[in-house]
Symmetry: C2
Subunit: 332 residues, 2 copies
């Protein structure tokens, strides 16, 4: 456990004061060129680096962000995290990863941890049960900016970076209309989740409104397995008319694809498939699945740039919606 180089040691070596060393190292004009040279040389030689704990104690400045997500087994969050990490490093920031497991209690603990550590900022996708906004305001009181992403609270006065759920659902619906298939099956996730409701409502509105010829059926599935079973039983009496399946998410899509493969159905010949996705899963199949993109990567870039602005002093709350776009595979 060898001791680290400190200002004190450099000062002692060179017979100058600690303050002189400190100032020299940050190129303060009060220090002569010659002294600076000597100090910088020695510092480089013994590989001096400031102790971040001591620095923080004085300045209350660290270079750490926290990212809090409900789950880590999720492609979308992965690309978000990856995206943030990339840029954060360039700015000299490190990132903490926290998983709430969609548990409000754990989320609370995590937020407290962030506060104690006085991280420079928090990116968070809240749990589906999070109702109380107070803990977040508390972070704000301590001067820690909070950027909500993906799963955001209804509360107005905060920074939110969202996926364009309406647009994505709408794009998918329009793509189906354009192809001209009239039988559509929409598969959605947990009906209690706001994200499900938004996608459901928009998809239904855009698809059906003014298009009386469309026969749309909607179902819900809480897991990939459930989606698979659902499709299997529904396709048991497959009458041969061309059906288009819309999957609200990657998880639903994986279940659907299992069923489709099991039935030996060809897409786009026998059946059409379209989904909302980050893009990872759709590209595993051939032809690739057509999807309305919700990019964690782009969201991350937006979130980080918003964060940087907050740190620079911007205090006004803003909601940014990242636009979606249709990525054509060959599944429709």
């Amino acid at each position: 456990m060898k001791p680290s180089p400190t200002l004190k040691k450099i000062a002692a070596q060179l017979n100058v004061s600690i303050s002189t060393v400190s100032r020299a190292l940050k190129d303060h004009p009060d220090i002569s060129i010659e002294t600076k040279r000597k100090i910088n040389e020695l510092a480089a030689l013994i590989e001096y680096d400031p102790n971040p704990y001591a620095v923080n104690l004085r300045t209350h400045n660290n270079k750490e962000f926290a990212i809090v997500v409900p789950s880590l087994s999720n492609f979308f969050y992965h690309s978000f995290i990856s995206s943030i990490e990339e840029d954060a490093r360039k700015h000299g920031y490190s990132i903490f990863i926290y998983r709430s497991s969609n548990d409000v209690q754990i989320e609370l603990e995590i937020l407290k941890n962030c506060r104690l550590k006085r991280v420079s900022g928090v990116f968070i996708s809240i749990t589906t049960e999070t109702k109380d906004i107070a803990p977040f305001l508390k972070l704000d009181e301590y001067g820690i900016p909070v950027i909500f992403f993906d799963k955001v609270p209804a509360y107005e006065l905060c920074n939110k970076i969202c996926i364009a759920n309406e647009q994505a659902a709408s794009l998918a619906a329009l793509a189906i209309l354009k192809k001209g298939s009239n039988d559509v099956l929409g598969i959605f996730g947990d009906p209690n989740m706001p994200i499900t409701q938004v996608r459901y409502q928009t998809f239904n509105r855009v698809l059906v409104e003014g298009n009386p010829v469309i026969r749309l059926q909607n179902v819900n599935a809480n897991s990939a397995d459930e989606a698979e079973q659902l499709i299997l039983t529904m396709l048991a009496d497959y009458n041969g008319t061309y059906l288009t399946i819309f999957c609200m998410s990657d998880e639903i899509l994986t279940g659907v694809m299992k069923a489709v493969q099991r039935k030996g159905l060809k897409f786009p010949k026998d059946i059409g498939i379209i989904c909302i996705s980050d893009g990872m899963i759709p590209k595993l199949f051939y032809p690739e699945i057509t999807y309305a993109e919700t990019s964690g990567f782009k969201l991350g870039k937006l979130a980080l740039s918003r964060m940087m602005r907050c740190i620079a002093g911007s205090s006004f709350a803003q909601t940014i919606i990242d636009e979606s776009c249709l990525v054509e595979g060959g599944s429709l």
Copy 2:
């Protein structure tokens, strides 16, 4: 930016010294029951929590682990990270995520960062170019335990938690032999990577040794796309004899699956497929792909428990190999 509660404030409120407050809060026997009660009450009321920076400055103890990986877009690392995060939180640890992008220079920077932050421990999967072991020994000098996982250095005297590459490759080979198909195509990744070499050698040895009837062909692909192209051209003159394809990794597998779907080949009827994988990708298809499991989750558990032992004082180096097992899908 409201000020945090401190020992000093509690002390002032209660007309006792800072040391008394500090000791009372950690149930030191020198402090009377009555005093402890008062102090604990006030501390709870104003929500006092020790400043981790001040604590660290004194004690050099923090509760932070760093995980360093070459890439974040990798299922195996995801489950590893997820696994560590879960248990670490229970022990009161936070985790830093760092990505080296397989760049030695960045890796060096990250290691330096870890040293400066004096994290409690580092989990790292090194880059394919990492030759110099010195930076890691340096961490050790500062009393920071390093646990290598997955991609580990050849150097002996360190803690390594590895996938059973030989066993996994062997299991796959044995499974193929058991099925009795004689034409085998092995697809491997970058031939310069040790992991490729080990899997290649073991697979070839087990499959061919003592089985002169086996016709094995090996190829290398550096990406999913390359694997896809490779398979497409090789299957162009598909002569109808049953072929079994072995994929060394998830990435290779995704490319192969693209090609197989494109060709409209049925497995296990037309073709056999087997791979080494974490299990995520193989389960996306129907029938599910048979694979020799390399579990990031299990590896994480092993790594963390090893880390805890290191922190508790164990200083001897150990290499742990996590056993693989064959997970039967229906692709063979």
